[in-house]
Symmetry: C2
Subunit: 402 residues, 2 copies
């Protein structure tokens, strides 16, 4: 199938971060040509008063939980977890599949073309990914064997899932040891071994709350990142979610090992985790920062446009400095930085890249006025996911507004 | 004209905060009947999978500035003001009218039915209000005579505007002395005198930045609120915008005089004003808190749904406590609290109230699942202004999604 997008304002996210008017021709799942394109295509999209931009990449989600929206607002973490666990106790594999469908529909509706997930039974998530045509980096959640309610051994289940989906066009399997308070050294190192054996990424929650840091120090004498480094877990395969409570020493360790950050500002703020991920220091030390929603139970939606705005404003507020972030930096987090982290040939609109593209309706009043100069500002600060008119993944239209 | 909304999930915001299924019948600009209604109406709205809720009330805006979206992001306040002033230098009355039209279109699109404005030449804003059919509480901005570039005396212009629009159905005039750093005692007391004479409200910026507080203390020996109290300016006519930097003493003064707060979380965070309005203490001391966007130059949109989420999350984050705010509290700020502040017979869906109603499309994935139990959570935490399908002001449909 071929698609021609005519006369759009293209936010390329190429190395020059060009914003320019033009056409985009898509063929065989790739961006074939950009500029003034005169070809016949199977489908033509009118780009007039539209923005074409790279699809957004959400690096932290638990997508099956989408059906739990609104079950645990405005309560402390203890009550939050109680409510989630109570639902999970009675959850079937079909619930996981249906929750995943809901979440994927929302992501496609709001301009996300790729997501990283962590949950048990990612085979059900994979089924929903294939049904809907999004790109999923799916991490089977692993905890110590005595903590699991899954049948079988968690690391074995995870490895079987990886074997099953290795080489799939849309599903990229990875392994997802849950956190230092649910995975001991053996589970973490076994996870690492599986990742190395199958050349996959690893995703894990790191330093989300003060309690996690406090408890881990009490138990091991070390902060989570120090301990993860000591046991040899850290590498450039690791995407650490949250990382709110880090010292400068930990940031330097993470940076030296090439660990990627998945920043989840909306979830962190809603849960009242306190403080804020030390973004300026992470950037100063060369860390690759990306953005995630976390599940809808703490977000409460999967709108990456909203996450971009929260990320930008949280740090301005935290540092009492409007220059602490800027729109281009934040858009990079959600596009090129994330693509680099996932080793995915996407994140920008350039010839030869995967055709993961979002078309925004800039006729909506929240996108006006629109110029080359304020397009990125509008994307980060005024537009939201419901401005999305088309979502294209792998060269196919997977969402189209009625 | 009569309108019948059939089978909607109604978030009433009545004294019991009922959420219930039913019909709403609107006649002659008022809510005539709620429940199971069997009448013929000029226009019928299918409420199936829709939420009907009171229109949102934005208590702080400078709507003509909407055409400046994105001109001053990620810069310090000095550079921010420079860029705004540079545009304002060359601004015509027609620009003010057109900017107002843009902003009003955006407000109606995103579910705001009433707004409070502060700007010069509010006669142009009033023209746009009448053209578009929104409800405007329009405050002619007043500064000391030597600071103005307007023709004539600012307080006189303001009074003339009040006289012209007194008793209008949609435009309620008020007076808007700008701030303590632009209005001396004489200007403030003259503004108060005009407000009392014509029975209008007053709106003013208060304690937005540390600099404002520092400079005022240096000049007068008092913090802004202490000084405003001393000169006799404070009363229950006053809506104070921002109020980020208040002491507990000042909160008690404001509360004792009945001053209303317009909280602008998104603007404050984006400008890096620092800290956060001391919301818990203001509520503990019985202040009436409402919400505003501020202009798009610092917001960068006019979406009150987004402002509600920022308000909720800012204070959870600031206090490291997810219980610092809750969805019902925040929805109250934007509806019943604001209606009370404006002495407007609106803010809830009850028989006899003005028919200022918003219909949200809950078929969008960000609103699903939807139940009576999570409807208010979804409104505050997951829905945004582009979920709006119809906006009704004064019994007339002023926005309808195509």
């Amino acid at each position: 199938m071929s698609i021609l997008i005519k006369n759009a304002l293209i936010v390329t996210q190429n190395s020059k971060r060009d914003v320019k008017e033009g056409d985009i021709y898509i063929e065989d799942g790739k961006i074939a040509e950009i500029g003034k394109v005169n070809v016949e295509a199977d489908f033509v999209i009118d780009g007039n008063k539209r923005i074409a931009m790279p699809g957004l990449i959400n690096t932290h989600n638990h997508v099956p939980m989408t059906f739990m929206r609104g079950i645990a607002d405005d309560v402390d973490l203890f009550e939050f977890l109680n409510r989630v666990w109570k639902v999970e106790e009675n959850m079937t594999k079909e619930d996981i599949y249906r929750g995943s469908l809901m979440g994927i529909e929302e992501m496609l509706r709001t301009g996300t073309t790729t997501f990283v997930d962590m949950y048990s039974y990612e085979d059900e998530v994979a089924r929903a990914v294939k049904d809907k045509g999004i790109r999923g980096f799916l991490g089977w959640a692993v905890v110590d064997e005595e903590l699991t309610t899954q049948g079988g051994t968690p690391v074995k289940n995870a490895e079987n899932f990886i074997k099953e989906y290795k080489g799939d066009e849309l599903v990229t399997p990875l392994i997802a040891p849950h956190a230092v308070y649910t995975c001991g050294e053996e589970t973490l190192l076994k996870s690492k071994e599986i990742a190395e054996k199958h050349h996959t990424l690893i995703t894990i929650h790191i330093a989300e709350t003060r309690k996690e840091v406090y408890d881990h120090r009490k138990k091991t004498g070390m902060r989570p990142v120090e301990w993860l480094d000591k046991i040899g877990f850290l590498s450039n395969r690791v995407i650490g979610a949250h990382m709110v409570w880090l010292t400068l020493h930990e940031i330097k360790l993470l940076s030296s090992k090439g660990v990627v950050a998945s920043h989840n500002p909306t979830s962190n703020m809603k849960l009242g985790n306190g403080g804020a991920m030390p973004l300026p220091e992470m950037l100063q030390n060369g860390m690759n920062v990306t953005l995630g929603t976390d599940s809808v139970v703490s977000n409460n939606n999967l709108d990456m446009f909203e996450v971009m705005k929260f990320a930008a404003l949280l740090h301005k507020n935290e540092r009492w400095d409007p220059r602490a972030t800027n729109a281009q930096m934040i858009l990079d987090f959600a596009t090129v930085n994330a693509a680099k982290a996932l080793k995915l040939n996407a994140g920008s609109i350039e010839e030869g890249k995967l055709a993961d593209i979002v078309i925004l309706d800039a006729r909506e009043p929240n996108a006006q006025p629109l110029t080359k100069d304020n397009a990125i500002s509008n994307i980060v600060y005024s537009i939201n996911g419901l401005n999305v008119e088309y979502t294209i993944v792998n060269g196919k239209i997977v969402y189209k507004k009625n």
